[in-house]
Amino acid sequence: MKKVYGSAAEALEGTLSDGMLIAAGGFGLCGIPELLIDGIVASGVKDLTVASNNAGVDGFGLGKLLDTRQIKKMMSSYVGENAEFMRQYLSGELELEFNPQGTLAERMRAGGCGIPGFYTKTGVGTVIAEGKEVKSWGGEDYILEEGIFADLSIVKAWKADDTGNLVFRKTARNFNPPAAMCGRICIAEVEEIVPRGSLDPDKIHLPGIYVHRLIQGDHEKRIEQRTVRQKESV
């Protein structure tokens, strides 16, 4: 089965519908599916719920989908870097479901593993626990969190072979594997697609079984907080 597509628009063909749930990889602007976000903007699909740790910045990453008002609801752990996000949220145009970062990652992983719910200590006794089932083990309370089953996953990797085996680079891996796992359909964008046999099978980070469609392209890879140290003078 052919997984490699020529463009984001081709790869997204037939996968989008209004009101759907999309899981997106990335942490801040690191390892985000830039090309697929552009493709979703161009498609005009709307009323999206997006599960993503962050919401991009103004005019870049998921910020582009906020600018076009295509997102109805975000499921995130931290959204502080985006003025348009805050404007829409404070005016009631955008729904926001805060998830602790590890809970969000585990909800994606669980969904991808067919696990509808799990108990965690994270958030016990906080606003996050409100309305959630509490269960005790060994005298400690845990709350029930639900797996995320997304209609579509969009992720970014460094390299892929044409069967969809993915290799990530450094901290750009972040949410991409769990986001990829929880989607009914997963589209991955990579910097380079290499022939099968050229990736070491022992060094595949995410097996191709999770990846249904693939595209290759150039990435801007914007840096959010450029921090450097001075070279010590001799």
């Binding site: 942490f27 801040g28 602007l29 690191c30 390892g31 740790n53 995130s76 752990s77 931290y78 959204v79 502080g80 870097e81 805050m86 805060f98 602790p100 970062q101 590890g102 809970t103 969000l104 990652a105 585990e106 994606m108 992983r109 965690t120 200590k121 994270t122 958030g123 016990v124 006794g125 906080t126 606003v127 996050i128 460094w158 990530f168 680079r169 450094k170 901290t171 750009a172 891996r173 972040n174 949410f175 991409n176 594997p177 769990p178 980070h205 890879k221 914007r222 840096i223 959010e224 907080q225 450029r226 921090t227 450097v228 140290r229 001075q230 070279k231």
Partner: protein
């Protein structure tokens, strides 16, 4: 003289034991890395890295290599990378020995508030709730009072909580306190700060 930011960070670094895997929060906790000395400490960055190195030299920045504060960083010989689910798996699984975190308020029962001020812009809890629920030891580093002079070391937190009963030790500009049954116990005071000064700046119950 109360401790300054660097002295608080240096004092917090004394808490870390050789061989520990540690997560440092944003702000003063980040400075702790400068004071670990010869101890073999591996820093975790919860976006998916163990063995976090210093900031890169200008020109060496890599957009694929950032810390949880989204700052460009570097890797070390010991570095490993992993995804967010595994990262928080090791946090929840108790593999991280300690987290050193900033706080808005701490209560005498170990409750911690450090993510949300009602009526102000709420950015989110990030990984803070997972960290305080999962790591072996939670050490808070913060100023003892806010800019109005009100104590941040309280009988009960007034702000929405990050976790309940999670804090083990509090290091402030005035000294060090432990969370113990019945309240807080003074471990030490900053040089030139008396126990009376510390008590006067503390709303929480001090025992012993």
């Amino acid at each position: 003289m109360p401790w300054d930011r660097n002295q608080m960070a240096a004092r917090a670094a004394e808490e870390l034991q050789d061989g520990w895997y540690v997560n440092l929060g944003i702000g003063i906790p980040t400075l702790v890395a400068n004071y670990v000395g010869d101890k073999d400490i591996t820093l975790q960055s919860e976006n998916g890295m163990l063995g976090m190195g210093p900031f890169p030299y200008e020109g060496d920045e890599d957009p694929d290599l950032i810390n949880a504060g989204k700052q460009t960083i570097t890797e070390l010989a010991r570095t490993s990378y992993f995804d967010s689910a595994q990262s928080f798996g090791m946090i929840r699984g108790g593999k991280i020995a300690a987290a050193i975190l900033g706080a808005m308020e701490v209560a005498e029962n170990g409750d911690l508030a450090n993510w949300m001020i009602p009526g102000k812009l709420v950015k989110g809890m990030g990984g803070a709730m997972d960290l305080v629920a999962g790591v072996g030891r939670v050490i808070v580093v913060m100023d003892h009072t806010n800019k109005h002079g009100d104590s941040k070391v309280l009988k009960a937190c007034t702000l929405p909580l990050t976790g309940t009963g999670v804090v083990d030790r509090i290091i402030t500009n005035l000294g060090v306190l432990d969370v113990v049954p019945g309240g807080l116990k003074i471990v030490e005071t900053a040089e030139g700060v008396t126990e009376a000064d510390l008590r006067a700046a503390t709303e929480a119950t001090i025992v012993g």
